[in-house]
Amino acid sequence: MSPLDTPEPLVQVADLSVTFPVGQGAAVRAVDGLSFTMPPGGALGIVGESGSGKSTVAYGLLGLHRGTGAEVTGAVRVAGRDVLAAGDAELRALRGPVAAMVFQDPLSSLDPYAAIGDQIAEVYRVHRRDASRRAARARAVEVLDRVGIPDAARRARARPHEFSGGMRQRALIAMALACEPRLLVADEPTTALDVTVQAQILGLLRELRAETGMGLLLVTHDLGVAAGNVDELLVMKEGREVEHGPAREVLDAPREDYTRALLAAVPRIDVRRAAGDTATAAGEPLLEATGLRREFGRGKRAVTAVDEVSLTIRPGETVGVVGESGSGKTTLGRMLVRLLEPSGGVLRYRGRDIGGLRERELRGFRGEAQMVFQDPVSSLNPRRSIGESIADPLRTAGELTGSEIEERVRRLLHRVGLDPDAYHRYPHEFSGGQRQRVGIARALAPEPKLIVCDEPVSALDVTTQAQVVELLGDVQRESGIALVFIAHDLAVVRQVSDRVVVMRDGRIVEEGPADAVYDAPRHPYTRGLLAAAPSLAPAEAAA
């Protein structure tokens, strides 16, 4: 259906520009002259890298830039209402019943202090002033039940922290549903979720669309997520439209180079790793875990996060660890570098038992085993320049002089693709991908033999992801470091790993060479994970 056939489009955006002041008279133009329309019941995907302005467009549809100091020009009409000219009360009446929004991070997007059912009921009563408290609560239970929350009447009284990530996202969708919107704006709705939960949430969105006929505006950096769920795709770069057309055409026959590059960066789960990249792991095991266990809490409330895991890592190889959230992969990773002490089992580094060593006895090991963390924002000290942060492990080692350290840090910055003169700059001055490069440089500083990367690219968009993964591969080939690569994204893991370990509920359910695990998975759980991974082929993704 082309938008021209429809007399009154659901969404009409014409020449939209959004400019944010950044202080001292300077301003950043996040959206620059964007125009598009969306028919009633249509589904449009806006894709682009972080910073491309896609979320800014989504916020603009609900008039959420009002009061933030942003300058918005052009025209935005949703269901015939002029969003930019609407009064405050008019705008509030639009938010919910006309256009409802689902946010990226379901953990922080709900009030942690209030019951989930009450939050939905509150929003419902804002728009249905005649509804009684009791009716609003009943409505909350009804929509929670509709989005698949089991035992909704009871769970409506739970608070957000008692819900899993997927259930929280369902609850947010339920909040949107309560108002029966004509347009659902979903801003990266599945980015914070694992593949299986992502597949469930996307399935739910498709069902709800078919049932209610509401339009969907899906903002995502993941083309795989957009592929099976939208009719049209709008590719954005630096606030401008790059390409806009039917999803099928854009994916199969992209007209623009930028779209092609974006597509090429998407990690493919069905593509083997290039032969030259695979390392031949030989020699004595570097790190050897036998029957490793870790419990949290005591007594009745004890939870076993990692249960009898045995794993061998040889010099120069990359071992991928995949699994859903809660499968124990992060706990395992932290034990491997002894950030956590194992509750049981044996952990040997070059034949020496390090599982029970005290901090002082671990000194030598600390320099040889490093970690790269998921969140490059919070894992760097915001009050120290990045050069200082990278230099810290070298200073602690105390072997080099000040000028030698600075020289080494500059070389490391250059190695990870940053300007050596960035030494004195602070983390907030860098983009997410650059910060992760800093994290890698910091891990490389003490010249380790092993680096454990915990979800190193899951906070980054596809293009940046591809660059960081490539950097890790280069570094490994040069230096022969052993890598443990922990991720929930199966395709990324396949790209980098020689061997793959699949974890579930703290145990290893399958282990083997990457291609064997991906091409011929033996365990049903692995098969389920692989099936849930988003694919660029719409027919397949929608199945």
Binding site: L62, F103, S109, V123, V126, H127, L172, C179
Partner: protein, 329 residues
């Protein structure tokens, strides 16, 4: 929940026990002769010796401490020469100065200090949280600047200056309020409140700046959180967002600070008490310390210590009510 309270109560007893030990130890090394001070300036050495014996000050410090514990647990009998004075458990002993029971001294003065502290707390919370909220909502405006200036001026001024100014203005010059003298709440609630209004105001003016700052910053922090954006995106009015969602998130630190301040108010209100002529615990403590009156000092310190501990337990309970994620264990 019950287990939690029990554990906290046991912890409180241990803390108070340790506190009494420390005070005894400090007294033992502190200068000053309680017997000479109790006897008066015209006593000869023989009389002082008699007083010392009478007060059992010749005993080793651990024996004295043991007697103190016995008195607490089982009461104590004192000979007065002609008869026997019985002191019921918990007995903190007799004042060295005037042989009055410490328990009586404290029960006379505790209501004064409690009235002062609790009333001031209500007022400083109203003032502090209120102006903190306003500053957060009118950020960058004239309201915020004026409020910040006023609360800072309040904090920067010593209590005896604020108190004196208030007294001069409202009692001496305008004559709107009586010069404060303590009237028991049970006796005449209206007079109680009128007489305490000025001391409450003086304390509240001093304390409220802290609360205004704390409320403002934690409010701004909460307002910047993602879940506030969610309610804005669903058309919930700003007033409901602040009242129902933001304020609740901003309160826990205020609760914690209130508990600490309220506790210390019991021991530290001496300036206010002196200025307004209120016979409270603070005055008693200062006088007892000056005369090395050990039983009174121990008694007052233990009671104020108990107030601090209880205030903190109540704060923890309120904390758990405000934030249901907090499990009391």
């Amino acid at each position: 929940m019950r287990g939690y309270l029990l554990r906290r109560a046991i912890g409180a007893v241990i803390v108070l026990f340790a506190l009494s030990l420390v005070i005894y130890a400090l007294f033992y090394v502190a200068p000053g002769d309680p017997a000479r001070l109790a006897c008066g300036p015209r006593c000869n050495p023989e009389q002082i010796r008699q007083v010392r014996e009478q007060l059992s000050l010749g005993d080793p410090v651990y024996v004295q401490y043991w007697h103190f514990l016995q008195g607490l647990a089982a009461g104590h009998d004192y000979s007065t020469g002609t008869g026997v004075l019985h002191c019921d458990a918990p007995c903190f002993g007799l004042s060295y100065q005037n042989d009055q029971q410490v328990t009586d001294l404290i029960t006379q003065r505790l209501p004064v200090t409690a009235s002062l502290a609790l009333g001031a707390m209500v007022l400083w919370l109203l003032l502090g949280v209120g102006s903190g909220l306003l500053s957060a909502l009118r950020r960058g405006g004239t309201t915020e600047r004026v409020l910040t200036w006023l609360t800072l001026a309040g904090t920067a001024t010593p209590v005896f200056i604020i108190g004196l100014l208030l007294l001069m203005l409202f009692c001496a010059y305008l004559g709107w309020l009586p010069f404060p003298s303590y009237v028991a709440l049970t006796e005449d609630p209206e007079q109680w409140a009128w007489n305490l209004l000025l001391p409450w105001t003086a304390l509240a003016l001093i304390e409220s700046a802290k609360y205004a700052r704390l409320t403002r910053s934690s409010m701004l922090e909460t307002l910047a959180e993602d879940h506030i954006r969610t309610f804005r995106a669903y058309g919930v009015a700003e007033r409901s967002i602040v009242g129902r969602h933001a304020l609740r998130g901003a309160l826990p630190p205020v609760i914690a600070l209130t508990a600490l301040d309220l506790g210390s108010m019991f021991g530290n209100a001496v300036l206010t008490e002196t200025l307004f002529g209120l016979p409270g615990l603070g005055q008693l403590l200062v006088h007892a310390t000056r005369t090395v009156d050990l039983p009174v000092v121990v008694g007052v310190v233990l009671v104020t210590g108990a107030a601090v501990v209880i205030a903190n337990i109540v704060a923890d309970l309120l904390y758990a009510v405000a934030d249901r994620r907090v499990a009391l264990a």
